[in-house]
Amino acid sequence: MILHPGIIALLVGSLIVLALLLYGSVLAVVILRRWDIKSSSEFQLGLERKTYLVSTIMSFVLGFEVLAIFLFIYTVDDLHRQFVGAMCATGSLNANPVGWYVLYVKMLLFFISSLWIGINYVDQRTEGFPLVRFKYGMLLLVAPLVLVDVYLQSRYFLGLTPDIITSCCGALFSKEGGGLSSSLSSLPVRPMRYIFFTVLGLYVLAGLISLKRQKGIFRGLMGIFSVIVFLISLASIISFVSLYFYEIPTHHCPFDILQGYYNYIGYPLYGALFSGTAFGLLTGFTEILKKLFPSLEKINRYQRKWTILSILFMVIFTLISLYPMLFSSFTLEGY
């Protein structure tokens, strides 16, 4: 184990959050089993009051998860100096491969968290709390995921010993290697570029149309599209977007852009992509909920807001990735 301040902060924070979440889950189970909005018994009143507590706990927990993913990635990036052969977060993650799962779980948690916060937001503003059961059912799915996250994260950090010789991004994200990461890197640049910008353009277009016309189908499309945009964007960052930031045609690392040497450009880049995707998902997901719970008519107002935010973030993401392509002297014409 490495006693790095960031690691201790993450572990301590995760344990606190886990304790709160378990408490919240116990309350959620009671609410799920005994909830009856029509009853005017004292017990139901108590439950209604407890929903405030659970919502607050959840907002806290999920807010924490959003911050934690950034702290995690920065800590991992900061750790690379302690491993032979590591030059960025890739090296530190390879030092103990469990780290990759931590990253995936944290990403999943980020999206589920933002969905939950959005649904809770809607529910609290709707008469009769129609989504209570759904919400707390979902909470019981989040809790094990956080538990897995805490477990994997502890295993990752506890299993790290400096001096392990790890392979770095140069080896993992190079065209010669095997596995998913290198096949992503070897995606041909030119078609990839067309796909990337087309998909982003289509997404923004779908968003704009759904703003203009109050048809549910476009909102649903946005939800599905946001996932596709997210995946294609990640692939594109590895395939060609990162190259423009590094100005090296062979360096495909998705983590190096987070470093100070590249002005931390990765943080706004990923921040915009993740936020845009989260709002898109939320728009699509609540569209399904609207079909299931007819009393959610007021939701349209919020969906509109989310759609605008999603478009905004995606445009920011596009602009950041476009910037070095337009304004640096580096070109990929020969590749």
Binding site: I2, L3, H4, I8, A9, V17, L53, R81, V84
Partner: protein, 386 residues
Amino acid sequence: MIKHLKILEFALSSLWRRKFKNLGLIVVFSLIIFTLSSIVFLTYSFKREAVAVLKDAPELIVQRLSAGRHEMMPVEYMKKIKDIPGVGKIVPRLWGYYYDISTGGNYTVMALREGLQDKISLMEGSFVVGSGSCVVGRGVADARFLDIGSIMPLIGADGKVRRFRVAGIFTDESNLLTNDLVIIGEKDFREVFRIPQSIATDIVVQIYNPTEVDNIARKIKEALPDTRPITRREILRTYDTLFDWRSGMVLTMFLGAILAFVILAWDKATGLSAEERHEIAILKAIGWETSDVMELKFWEGFIISSLSFLTGLIGGYLHIYFFGASIFSPALKGWSVIFPEFRLVPYINIYQIAVLLFFTVIPYMAATIVPSWKAAITDPDVVMRG
């Protein structure tokens, strides 16, 4: 939006009405943050200092090992290293430690070699080391009350005292590197320590392509199995791990203090006075929702933690960079009779702040969630009657 601001305003005024109750909490919270931020700042500055000092260090140093211990290096080893492609200039180094009985300090004694003048140029006097003269660091000069032209005696391996005239003294700027340094001529060095011509302490290897360092280190190890090549990256990594470990240690020790603080915060938040309960009851009676009261409580916590956080952070910053980290440096720095005095270069980034937030504000917020909910669900009816 305007509603949230109004609640914030109300929170500010309600905190102000109970300033003394909250002041205690803010003081304790600030102290905790002060301590933790001092540790984090100090660690980062040490790491940066190490990087800055080692910037000019050689890419690769080759030492000889015998029975797992550092041994003197035969100069003929240089030939074998020279044959490895990619290797530039090879310079043998002569250095050692000297225990000075009269001051109780350990000096680092080094023989002059070519290129050394370019590396450490900061000094008063002149860097001319002929036979019988020397250049000393500020710490050595202070310990022995030396001035330019004074005599610095060294007792040799044969027990004879040799006298060296001080030709120059390194200035304070290069303190970290030169504080305990004494540089004498190569011939003098061999005489004082009785070292034959055929051996050196270790060898500095210049490598043309920095990406080849590890490769060449491996080749040297293969060609000369009894040597230990040390790369600069390795030294840096060791410092990094060391300081992280030290600060992690200290932070872990302070977890108990954080826990105590969390209990204090919990206690303060739970123990509502009758007056406060009354206030919340009235708020609810005039139409505040439970969520509004919780928001009020959130803002109160937010104000307390941001105030304490800023106070503690600024305090920590001043402590480290203006008062030389007087409280913590013994634990984190190390000690020696002749220890360099150095001013740390201020360094602060978002990551340090994020780590501190995770350590302090998140436990505090977590501790106050349940109490503030308890306060928020107060039944106006019950309170006002009772």
